[in-house]
């Protein structure tokens, strides 16, 4: 294992310490609970937005805390859900009297830990909590008899859009409804060129030969559904976009918000090259790109590879997308 770390056991806390040092103007970090907060306390009457999950997906979620996005992000160990104590602490802290929305990615551990936290917060503090579980990964089929689709790229778009809605004063019920709508309209698919190494494990999660790729991966270094010979970018783009388009009709006047996401170890030159291929397929399929985002937003440590997210938009979603945001990971309009 070749990583810029000290002790594998301290990676998460030491990285959080770095976030606090890098962004003192925007963030404050509770190192004991491993929660990243906005620097200023929540505005009374604003819905509090909390997300969280295993670490290793940076900038999500800690780097998406700030004006127009999250109020708090709970950091678990690498690829491991945070624990209820963290979500409890964050829920109490960002309750500005209008309730708190938990944004949860659909993984068994995340769902269970957030559920326990919501039960405990209701019993202890009386905070009104609603949850949205994001499950947008079209690589997972047969969700009736399994843990269901995984929560991946749509989470980033959802945190931006619902963050803007909370900022403009929408109620908890309205924010929750909007969150469900974004989840229902978003689809993602990812692939890997290399595996990644969890610091505590010390070796790669899976092995991929020089001429192989893994299609349909999630964001935890877990193998995907299919291992295939490496193919040219335009074929890879088709393998990612076609299942997305087959799952939902994205043609419509307002078009779509598209994210070309890197898994952590892929250079931007390749992501832009891939975006050109993706945009061409979308155009040929009659899908207008209203807005797009190219870069590393929901990553899997040092994995090389990418994912595509397509979100069916309308005027409300595009308006909220364009609203000001000021976080370490996303910043415009301010």
């Amino acid at each position: 294992m070749k990583k810029l770390i000290n002790d594998p056991a301290d990676v998460v806390v030491e990285a959080l310490r770095g976030m606090a040092a890098a962004h003192p103007d925007r963030l404050r970090v509770d190192l004991e609970h491993k929660v990243v907060y906005r620097k200023d306390p929540i505005r009374q009457g604003k819905v509090g937005l909390i997300s969280g999950g295993g670490s290793g997906h940076e900038p999500m979620h800690g780097g998406l805390v700030g004006l127009g996005m999250l109020d708090a992000a709970c950091a678990g160990e690498v690829f491991t859900s945070p624990v209820p104590d963290q979500m409890m602490a964050a829920t109490k802290e960002v309750d500005g009297g209008a309730g708190v929305l938990h944004i949860v990615k659909n993984y068994t551990g995340d769902v269970m830990n957030f559920e326990m936290a919501a039960e405990m917060a209701a019993a202890e503090a009386g905070t009104e909590v609603q949850s949205v579980v994001v499950d947008d990964d079209v690589a997972v089929q047969d969700s009736l008899y399994t843990a269901g689709r995984r929560g991946v790229g749509t989470t980033v778009l959802l945190e931006k859009i619902v963050g803007a809605a909370a900022e403009e004063g929408r109620s908890l019920a309205e924010c929750a409804e909007l969150a469900h709508k974004v989840n229902g309209n978003g689809r993602s698919m990812g692939m890997a060129l290399t595996s990644c190494t969890v610091p505590a494990a010390g070796k790669p999660t899976f092995d991929l030969a020089e001429d192989e790729m893994e299609v349909g991966i999630g964001i935890h270094g877990e193998p995907g559904r299919q291992r295939l010979p490496l193919a040219p970018a335009k074929d890879v783009a088709a393998m990612l976009v076609e299942p997305i388009l087959a799952d939902l009709d994205f043609t419509g006047d307002a078009g779509a918000i598209v994210m070309m996401n890197g898994m952590g170890g892929t250079p931007l030159i390749e992501l832009y090259l891939m975006y050109a291929e993706v945009a061409a397929i979308l155009e040929k399929s009659g899908v207008t790109v209203a807005r797009c985002l190219v870069g590393n937003y929901i990553t899997s440590l040092e994995m090389a590879g990418c994912s595509v997210t397509v979100l069916k938009a309308d005027d409300d979603l595009v308006g909220l997308w364009d609203a000001p945001v000021n976080t370490p990971g996303l910043r415009w309009g301010v």
């Binding site: 859900s81 624990v83 209820p84 830990n113 089929q141 399994t146 559904r225």
Partner: protein, 208 residues
Amino acid sequence: MANLQAFTSWIADYAATVTEQADYLTDLDRAIGDADHGSNMRRGMTRAAELAGAEEFTGIDTYLKKVGMILVSNVGGASGPLYGTFFLRMAGAFAEVEDAGVEEVGKGLRAGVEGILARGKAEVGDKTMYDAWAPALEAFDTAAGSGSDLAGALAAAAEAAAKGRDETEGLVARKGRASYLGERSRGHIDPGATSSTLLLESAARTLA
């Protein structure tokens, strides 16, 4: 009969076992999950084992409740809520019980496993820890019903759990992260069924 001291020995023994087996559990998880089961269990159980030396406990129930809370707070993933809920629910079966015999331990295990089911909503054959627990409970009750003492019933339960664990190898996962692999999850032993079997084997060594 098992008293509070026996239960603290159980937790200490299990902590030592998952520490020793951490790499193996993580290897199993690497094949069909996300390569963290061993390190997570080691972290949580090490904290739980430190409890007995750090605090005075008056009963088996208060002790197991604290163990459960420590696991919920320190393990993370799905294992934290599942093992945490197991001990929290099990604790409830030992109110006012100072020396637990075969009947009380049987009730405790059943309450704990019902907690796992309520939290995880798994069924037999889903390739989860429940595939070890379901046959273990049945074997425990059968042994207890035919007159076995606590040692005999726990030994039978541990043996049945190991068999259930081995049978997960042939199953396709329908719950948890392994379910994303579909058919490719077949041919691997489930890590949760493995750590659950270790917990019962540890109980057989220490509780009776």
